[in-house]
């Protein structure tokens, strides 16, 4: 029922009721037979059900408060790479992401190899693809895409590790690049 209809009905009934207080006996003619009373009761209970329904469908709205106590921390360089490496575990089959990671690490590796070996970018890329730039077989395998040159037991251990082989090799590759770079400062 619309708001105004409800209001008018309510006002009307209110007047009748108030008058009935003043003039007792006004309400006696109203039917009070069982059937009628039951009907009225049922109508009201239906009204109650309607109200329950209304409650269920309206959401309580109040002001949302921001997290004022938290401070915005600035990122440390490399945060996003860590996030992507972590997400790898969940999206194990996402080839495009892996390609991107491999490319990015490859760029850094090539630049570092260039400096260290004082060679051209082409030669550095060759070394990367051949796996000759480092003596860590897993790091080399990350870029060559071939199986690492280690014994079977080491390969099995790698598979059984909690993290995916791709992620572990990526980490090994980063460590190898770091060793390469620190070596050149000597």
């Amino acid at each position: 029922m619309s708001r105004s209809v409800t209001a008018v009905l309510g006002a009307l009934l209110g007047i009748i009721g108030l008058v009935a207080i003043a003039v007792p006996g006004l309400t006696t003619p109203l039917p009070t037979g069982d059937a009628f009373v039951l009907l009225v009761g049922v109508v009201l209970v239906l009204g109650a059900v309607g109200q329950i329904q209304r409650r269920r469908t309206t959401e309580l709205r109040y002001a949302e408060t921001p997290d004022a106590e938290l401070a915005v921390d600035l990122p440390t360089p490399g945060d996003d790479l860590d996030r992507r490496l972590d997400r790898l575990r969940l999206t194990r089959f996402n080839e495009a992401q892996r390609h991107r990671l491999r490319d990015e690490l490859g760029d850094v590796a090539v630049t570092t190899i260039q400096r260290r070996e004082r060679c051209s970018p082409a030669e550095a890329t060759e070394a990367l693809e051949a796996g000759t730039w480092t003596d860590d077989p897993f790091a080399a395998a990350f870029f060559t895409g071939l199986a690492p040159d280690v014994g079977a037991s080491a390969r099995v251990r790698e598979l059984l590790h909690r993290e995916s082989p791709f992620k572990r090799r990526a980490i090994r590759a980063i460590e190898a690049i770091e060793r390469l770079q620190e070596g050149e400062d000597d």
């Binding site: 009225v40 009204g47 329950i52 004022a68 106590e69 600035l74 440390t76 850094v108």
Partner: protein
Amino acid sequence: MTEDDTPRSDGGRSVDTTTAEADAVEADAATAAAAGADAPDAETGGADGVDAGVRPAESNATDAFARDEPSVEEDAEPGRRETPTPGGDSAEARADSEPAASTGPVTTTVRSATLRSTNHWVGFATLAFLAGGLGVALRSRSLLLAAVVGVGYLAYANVTEAPEPRLAVERTLSTERPEPGDTVEVRVVVENVGETVLPDLRIVEQVPEALAVTDGPARTATALRPGARMTFTYSVLARRGAYEFDGLTVMARNASGSRERECDLSTEPISITCLAPIDATAAVPLRGLTSPYTGRVSTDTSGEGTEFASLREYQHGDALSRIDWNSYARDGTLATMEFREERMATVVVVLDLRGAAYLQAGEDGLHAVDRGIDATRRIFNSLLDTGDRVGLAAFASESVWLAPGAGATHQARARDLLSTHPALSPTPPDERVYVRWQLRRLHQRLDDDAQVVFVSPVPDDTSTLVARSLQVRGHPVTVVSPDATLRDTPGHTLAAIERSNRLNDLRGSGVRVVDWAGDERLGEALERARRRWSG
């Protein structure tokens, strides 16, 4: 730094809190003589009294910025000012909660307000209908009466409106100049200066984004009668930079909770200014930073600033106007005069303030821009001391440029810029920084022989591009790079490797690089680099 560097939104001087701007209502204004002289004004009623409620502090000699804002906004509502005056009954409450020499709560201004229905009581009529229906159908009188109770609650829920809160807020800090890493306690006093009861008031502080709250939520809930106040406290961790507390959010509800008025209130600003501990040697050893690149300013005029410095042996190609004819006349030797200006280098210190430069090594490290600004300040001052002409510039969301100069006023102007310019903020800019365009403008502004000290954490290739571009155009570049990298995780390590590669690339292009590690003092880093350059 002097004591006048607290950034204030009203651009005024720091308010010296020891000369109290006493609350006009304090019957015992024992704090300051100046305030005491105004107390009689507050007690006289009438038109004067209305103004005196807020104005007495203004007539003090010290600036009363605390009062300026409310009086401007309150002009339309003089009635509000009267309520602080008859505050005798709340004076006892105040005596307990107020520190001796404080200014007292200042009325807030509403920045925005939203009124909404919470729908708390929607559907409550279920009770009335259910009780009524069952009461009628089953002829139970008590159920009908229970329905009456339900109706009573409906009236309670729907008839009242959320009040408009009129609040005065005072915020005090345990210290306004902490050291980085200190805990600062913030105490907030909220007073109901309106005439309506606030039965359900929820308050959330607007803590500056960069500051973390370490103790207690910066929020509270209360009920305030007119004139009542409440206090709550919380602690924040101080961090390098200047941060302003200038507002709070308030949600005022009616008693039943069916209506809520959310207001964004602006309070009198108060700031925390945190400077890193000054190095014992504020001057920075700059030997080698600029000398091999001494600019030759060919001036034929002996205008201001050219002062005779020394004589040296004539070299083929020196300007004839520079020959010291006196010594030639005396003994026939040719000598060239060297003027002071020639010895002076022109250096512009350029700061990288792009969003990408806002980096931090882990959660506790100082962040790269703060370190960069500190380095800029020290290098600037040291270069001025050695007689060079120094200027300032930055790649930032707003234009930052101070043309190279010398002298005390110039130094003061630079100090001012470095402490109050909005682009040098502790938080990253929201807008994009257009590097190409700013680089072009920088090229135009730089003198042909100006050297550049580029302060940047070198987070990406754009920074190397900038450095190389300047170097190629004939401006010798020295890069001072605060190291914001860590090597604790693979991602961080890779980023550190990338940065090292970039720095090495720059070195290969002839740019001089000072790699300033996080735990190193700037002096040490410069010394280390100098040894590298000369060794």
